[in-house]
């Protein structure tokens, strides 16, 4: 007879976290889930770097006079804020963290198609990041994140070549991620996982990957041209030789506009997942939402010159781009309508992910509508290069993309870590983020419309703008607190959080049919899919074993 010794904790199942220990098992991993966590740490680091620059910007703008930093330094601050946030946070964030983690799980695969390329992608990100850090620490760049020629090619003394190369390297990281996703989604879906059964998160990442693949190479070669021009004194964009600065802008924005769709599409994919789960309904108009993602990716390539309306381009071409810019709003609007229809008569649960999703819906809509303001040529002439534009894109990128990212991190945190985060704190943080965000950026719409230019360190000729600027800075502080809270409680939960079951939300999706955290090869047996996406009716039917978690 054997004596069973009472064990205080259940023996932990083998999963991707505890399968192997040691630094090298992480640095040489090819497991997409570990790579996702490596990315999580890296992009969080850069998020706080970018945030630090934002803080300095907002501190300077507390007073009309340029009294915190010098003009050149201020130029560097907003440049580095932009470059770090765009290239090292927003573009990689959701695809590299949540995409890497979830794409194979959601389609029933054991890993991505090219795991070693996935690891290479992270190393390229790190190399680019180190180059950018070095650049920042040794003087930085002062051209604005858009590094327009001929200032960037001929006149600035700052470290354009180094920053450009850093972005080039991190751009390849992005291309390889996109390549991996496209091939994986085409080739490695589990039996029965047809295209029309894919979660909308996958459709969104597929569309994002197309943009990454087709757009990034163009900015890469543009950077090559700028670097060559600076280093070798070529003259491709030099007006003194007959070069056209607008050509640089065309090539730059051909990528950088679709890039903003790289930033928002994955977030939209997350929102679809969250809204379905927390209203216990399938997404209304699944096909429309799926095709809208593809439409946004394609249309997104047709509108880039709306960043150049006042730069000296042809008015006739501007008319065409303006019209196309209106058209690109349509698929986004279709999605917003479908999400709203999903909520209608749903059984709404107000958990933290859902709070972020609600925030997304409102703030993305405002951001999107103000984009239409900017697409109108007449209005654009008035508000271009003002804080109106700054507010517009922050509503989309922060109010949209970052809210979605945070919502997604909360939603899938149990799956990633095997722990539950503290719900009370999470709801509080969501509220603080929402309030802080609006306090920061809504005044900027007003400021911009009233004429405050962007990228100015000194607005002492318009001292009446100070009140709104102070509000904005106060909001930024609140927002910062809101961002710090999840950092703290996510880390806390890894040790002290309640262990999570396979499916704490009783959500639909293959990722919830495996353990939390998943084993290294994701599934004990290859899944065979026989149901449609978002089958919440079946999941909530009275005979099902799991009860929706009421928290």
């Amino acid at each position: 007879m054997s004596m069973e010794i009472a064990i205080p904790q259940a023996v932990e199942q083998e999963n991707y976290l505890n399968k192997e220990y040691g630094v090298w098992s992480w640095l040489l991993t090819t497991d997409h889930k570990r790579i996702a966590l490596l990315y999580l740490i890296s992009i969080t680091f850069f998020f706080f770097i970018g945030g630090f620059f934002a803080l300095l910007i907002r501190l300077e703008l507390l007073t009309p006079a340029g009294d915190l930093v010098q003009a050149d330094t201020y130029n560097k601050l907003f440049t580095m804020h932009g470059m770090v946030m765009v290239f090292f946070f927003l573009i990689p964030s959701i695809p590299a963290v949540l995409g890497n983690f979830l794409v194979p799980l959601m389609i029933g695969a054991k890993d991505l198609a090219f795991p070693r390329i996935n690891l290479l992608s992270w190393y390229l990100y790190i190399i680019g990041g180190v180059m950018m850090l070095h650049c920042m620490l040794t003087g930085g760049v002062d051209t604005g994140w858009t590094f327009y020629a001929p200032f960037s090619t001929n006149f600035t003394n700052t470290k354009i070549v180094e920053a450009g190369l850093a972005i080039f390297v991190v751009g390849f990281s992005s291309i390889l991620t996109g390549l991996n996703f496209v091939v994986t989604i085409h080739r490695m879906r589990a039996p029965g996982m047809t295209w029309s059964r894919l979660p909308l998160f996958i459709w969104a990442h597929y569309a994002t990957s197309i943009i990454q693949l087709l757009g990034t190479p163009v900015i890469a070669v543009t950077i090559v041209m700028v670097a060559a021009e600076r280093a070798l004194h070529l003259g491709i964009f030099d007006p003194r030789l007959g070069g056209d600065p607008l050509l640089f802008q065309h090539l730059f924005w051909f990528y950088s506009h679709p890039a903003v769709y790289i930033m928002i599409l994955p977030s939209m994919g997350i929102i679809s997942e969250i809204l379905a789960c927390f209203s216990r309904k399938r997404i209304f108009g699944y096909t429309f939402v799926a095709f809208s993602s593809i439409a946004i990716a394609v249309f997104g390539f047709l509108v880039w010159a709306h960043h150049m309306f006042v730069a000296g381009m042809s008015v006739y071409a501007a008319l065409v781009f303006s019209l196309l810019s209106y058209a690109v709003a349509v698929p986004s609007a279709i999605k917003v309508f479908n999400w709203t229809a999903t909520l209608y008569k749903g059984s709404i649960h107000y958990d933290a992910p859902m709070l972020y999703a609600f925030g997304f819906l409102g703030l993305f809509t405002i951001g999107g509508l103000t984009g239409l303001f900017l697409a109108a040529l007449g209005i654009d002439v008035h508000v271009t290069d003002t804080y109106f534009v700054v507010a517009h894109f922050h509503y989309i990128m922060v109010g949209g993309a970052v809210m979605g990212y945070l919502g997604g991190m909360h939603f899938w945190w149990p799956k990633i870590s095997g722990r539950l985060y503290p719900e009370g704190w999470a709801r509080l943080a969501a509220l603080i983020v929402f309030i802080g965000f609006n306090l920061t950026f809504f005044p900027q719409f007003l400021l911009g419309y009233m004429g405050m230019p962007r990228r100015y360190y000194d607005y002492s000729h318009m001292p009446e703008f100070q009140v709104l600027n102070v509000l904005s800075t106060a909001g930024a502080t609140v927002l910062g607190v809101g961002y710090l809270l999840p950092m703290i409680y996510f880390l806390w939960s890894m040790r002290y959080g309640k262990p999570a079951s396979d499916n704490p939300w009783n959500a639909a999706g293959l990722e919830w049919k495996t353990a939390s955290p998943p084993p290294t090869f994701n599934f004990e047996e290859e899944p065979v899919v026989t149901w449609e996406a978002y089958n919440y009716e079946e999941l909530d039917a009275p005979h099902s074993e799991e009860v929706p978690v009421a928290r």
């Binding site: 163009v218 090539l251 051909f254 390539f301 880039w304 010159a305 042809s314 006739y316 071409a317």
Partner: protein
Amino acid sequence: MYFAVFFALLVGTGLTVFAATLDLGRFNAAVALGIATIKATLVALFFMHVWQASEKLTKLVVIGALFFLLLLLGLTMSDYATRPWS
């Protein structure tokens, strides 16, 4: 069959060099690009096996990439071609 394509490619090269020596005015560029496109198409279809590709996806990737390339070239040109002052 590979040799037939190979031979055609060499003929095309000779042809394009010859055509460059003729004065066709504005059509020089069109002829040169036309011949280049035929050569590129031959390489893609027969050397890269797109012609006998088992999947439509391969052809879709090629056509898709070309579509976006033409978008880049075409829409950028639309600015330069309609500037009344240059």
